[in-house]
């Protein structure tokens, strides 16, 4: 009798206690995140002399990441092409330097079927290689080599599986644009007058003794564009995709004022960035006139004082939280990476996100991931000294926060 009475008194108290502990300990049950959802990595060696420069990143079919970069070597001032593969959690899998001849790899790891391709320069003859990577086997194959396309500066894969590549003819002092087929064979190659010798600027850009220049190529409708040296200035030129005939240009007053980023949104509508001496501007929407003549000063955008001089930009169109968003990835004077998200439809700022602290971090590339997050490739100087690759994985939840949350239905 006594026990049952005791129990009858104790049970409500225990129930209350049980409920309180259950409610209070919700955070224990909810404390789960997969290791691949979010991480920060700095890839390191213990060598005093090693220097790695990140260039581009792509997510592979196994949810890992293939990173294209450059590595300093002793027999040339150019960066040797260098790749590493990490798994979905950022754990290192392999590293390769495919060939001593492959130097100065260009921005952009391009998907080709189940493989990846990149463009780079020949160390001695300065021609252009198209190299294919099998990320699973860690092997490489040379798809094509164009000896006539020297000093490759920028390249993009186009809709037909081919490429549009910018180079420089040092003998004629001309910017070169070439359209290649999927096998790396030139369909046409055209040259555009620079009217001055810019080889020194190009070499400084390649060996990084000056701030890198924003060389770019791309396509817009039936035209291609290049961002490079033209007509005594650093300009964006538009050419006919069929034969390379120049159809329009946005002239810059020199290397101190240029378009520093451009990504197609719709048709001729582009999201762009520009620097002008000490200023950096973001232009969330701009309609390019591929047949007209303009000046970079026409691109009047949003001025960002916190960005470093001649800030590098990566601009990507992203779908997140049910929105079409333009994300500008750039770098600040304080050595942080800044991601800015703009609504594609009305160009309003949705949010911002900083990465890195304490040591300098600079933007290299970013891309969306299979789990609807974002992976950001950056360069850093570990302990403020040695150049290394850094990787920031942003979770789906954080990306949704960056773009201002989900739209109310």
């Amino acid at each position: 009798m006594k026990f049952s009475k005791y129990l009858s008194n104790a049970v409500p108290a225990m129930g209350i206690l049980f409920a309180i502990v259950s409610l209070a300990s919700c955070d224990i049950q909810e404390n789960t995140v997969e290791p691949q959802d979010v991480f920060t990595r700095v890839y390191n060696t213990d060598s005093y002399d090693d220097a790695f420069i990140p260039i581009s990143i792509a997510q592979t079919a196994d949810s890992g990441y293939l990173i294209l970069g450059g590595k300093e070597v002793t027999d040339t001032q150019f960066l040797s092409a260098y790749l590493i593969k990490v798994d979905s959690k950022g754990d290192f899998q392999w590293e390769r330097s495919p060939s001593d001849n492959y130097v100065n790899p260009l921005d952009g790891l391009m998907i080709s079927g189940s493989n990846y391709q990149f463009l780079c320069m020949d160390k001695l003859n300065l021609g252009t290689y198209l190299v294919q990577v099998d990320d699973q086997a860690g092997t490489f194959s040379e798809v094509g080599y164009l000896a006539a396309l020297q000093y490759p500066l920028a390249g993009t894969k186009i809709g037909d599986g081919g490429f549009v590549v910018q180079g420089y003819n040092r003998e004629d002092e001309k910017t070169v644009l070439a359209r290649l087929n999927a096998n790396g064979v030139a369909i046409w190659q055209e040259e555009y007058d620079t009217f001055e010798d810019v080889e020194e600027d190009i070499i400084k850009h390649m060996i990084r003794t000056s701030r890198p220049l924003p060389f770019m190529t791309g396509s817009v409708g039936n035209s291609f564009f290049f961002n490079g040296f033209y007509n005594y200035s650093f300009s964006m030129g538009f050419v006919n995709a069929a034969d390379g005939t120049l159809t329009g240009v946005i002239n810059g007053p020199g290397v101190d004022d240029a378009i520093s980023g451009a990504t197609q949104i719709n048709g001729t509508e582009f999201a762009m960035a520009r620097y002008s001496f000490l200023e950096n501007q973001i232009i969330p929407s701009y309609n390019l006139n591929v047949t007209g003549t303009g000046v970079t000063g026409d691109l009047d955008g949003l001025k960002f004082d916190e960005l470093t001089q001649r800030a590098k930009f990566q601009i990507k169109k992203v779908n997140a939280a049910g929105k079409s968003v333009i994300i500008f990835g750039t770098e600040t004077k304080t050595g942080q990476i800044l991601l800015l998200a703009y609504n594609q439809s009305d160009q309003t700022l949705l949010g911002s996100h900083y990465l890195g602290y304490g040591h300098p971090y600079q933007m290299a590339d970013f891309t969306t991931t299979l789990d609807e997050g974002l992976i950001v490739l950056a360069s850093t100087h570990i302990t403020g000294r040695f150049p290394r690759l850094a990787l920031f994985k942003i979770s789906k939840m954080d990306l949704e926060t960056l773009v201002g949350g989900t739209n109310p239905q």
Partner: protein, 322 residues
């Protein structure tokens, strides 16, 4: 999830056990008239000239007690999953860039709080000891870069990272006294639940740069960072321990006249606390750039372990004839 259930089951077992033991004790020692069984007394004021009753004997004995307790914590952490920011590019390298944790139970924290006890029988009591508890643990990370050809070209960076996490703790335990008399050894088991109130990291960084011209430290910095968000609010676990209690003074009905304070019970004991879950907030592990990007520090998944050594005293609020 399983561990959370475990702590709840422990709480239930403690409660049910106390009820069962009370029943067992009641049968063994016989029931006492209820009218004699209770009376409140704190700091004296009890009945005089009644038959002498010592603790452990049939008769009036402390039932409800309340007091204070405090002591030291010797903490350790069990890593259940390791994380790192600095990742070696050579899989065969000795360069692991991992953490070297401090020796187990080498960091001293502290705790202070109330101690309450409800006697269920002469040998069994239920203890509730809410208090403020601080756990401390730490580890070291070190990185080295050197040049094979040049002995002077090297850089060593060592980070000494200490943690201090404080909780408002609510332990519940079942205590069994192994013998009767004023000096009684006891054993206890139970569980606890804590609310995190504060968490700090202190990072001391030492840099040696051979190129700077010598072996002296080039720089040494210490920074203390609030990391409340790095740890989840809850901490739950089980505990077990042993100790000695000493009853001083008689009950108010004692023949010797008793003390004005009634029976005061001093306790000296040791508990081992075993955390049942990861206390690190996995959602915010990489959120603080100062830690991850600046000091290359990311916190592992950790379960708390703790040896607490305590001293306390309890005053009797209520007596009962067992």
């Amino acid at each position: 999830m399983i561990k959370v259930r475990s702590i709840l089951i422990v709480v239930l077992i403690v409660c049910f056990s106390s009820a069962a033991m009370a029943q067992f004790a009641g049968k063994k020692e016989g029931k006492k008239p209820r009218k004699e069984s209770s009376k409140f007394s704190l700091f004296g004021g009890g009945k005089k000239n009644q038959s002498k009753v010592k603790s452990g004997f049939k008769g009036e004995a402390p039932q409800w007690q309340l007091g204070i307790k405090g002591g030291v914590n010797l903490s350790d952490v069990q890593t259940t999953k390791n994380y790192q920011v600095v990742t070696p590019l050579d899989l065969s390298s000795n360069l692991t860039n991992g953490k070297t944790y401090d020796k187990p139970y080498s960091n001293i924290g502290n705790h202070i709080g109330l101690t309450g006890s409800v006697a269920i029988s002469p040998n069994v009591s239920l203890g509730f000891e809410p208090g403020y508890t601080t756990y401390k643990f730490g580890y070291e990370t070190s990185y080295q870069w050197d040049q094979f050809e040049d002995q002077q070209s090297y850089v060593n960076v060592t980070n000494d990272i200490d943690h201090s996490i404080s909780y408002l703790d609510f332990p519940l335990s079942l205590k069994y006294h192994l013998k009767t008399g004023p000096l009684k050894p006891y054993i206890q088991i139970g569980g606890y639940y804590g609310f995190r109130t504060n968490a700090d990291k202190t990072i001391s960084t030492k840099v040696e740069d051979g190129v700077a011209g010598g072996l002296d430290e080039l720089s040494s910095t210490t920074q203390r960072i609030g990391v409340d968000e790095l740890f989840i609010r809850s901490s739950a676990g089980i505990l077990g321990g042993a100790g000695l209690s000493l009853d001083v003074g008689d009950s108010p009905s004692g023949m010797s006249g008793g003390s004005d304070l009634g029976t005061v019970r001093f306790v000296l004991g040791v508990n081992y606390r075993y955390g049942l879950h990861n206390v690190v907030d996995v959602k915010t592990r990489y959120e603080d750039g100062l830690l991850t990007s600046g000091s290359y520090d990311v916190t592992d998944d950790l379960e708390l372990r703790n040896i607490e050594i305590y001293l306390g005293c309890r005053f009797t609020l209520k007596y009962k004839n067992f």
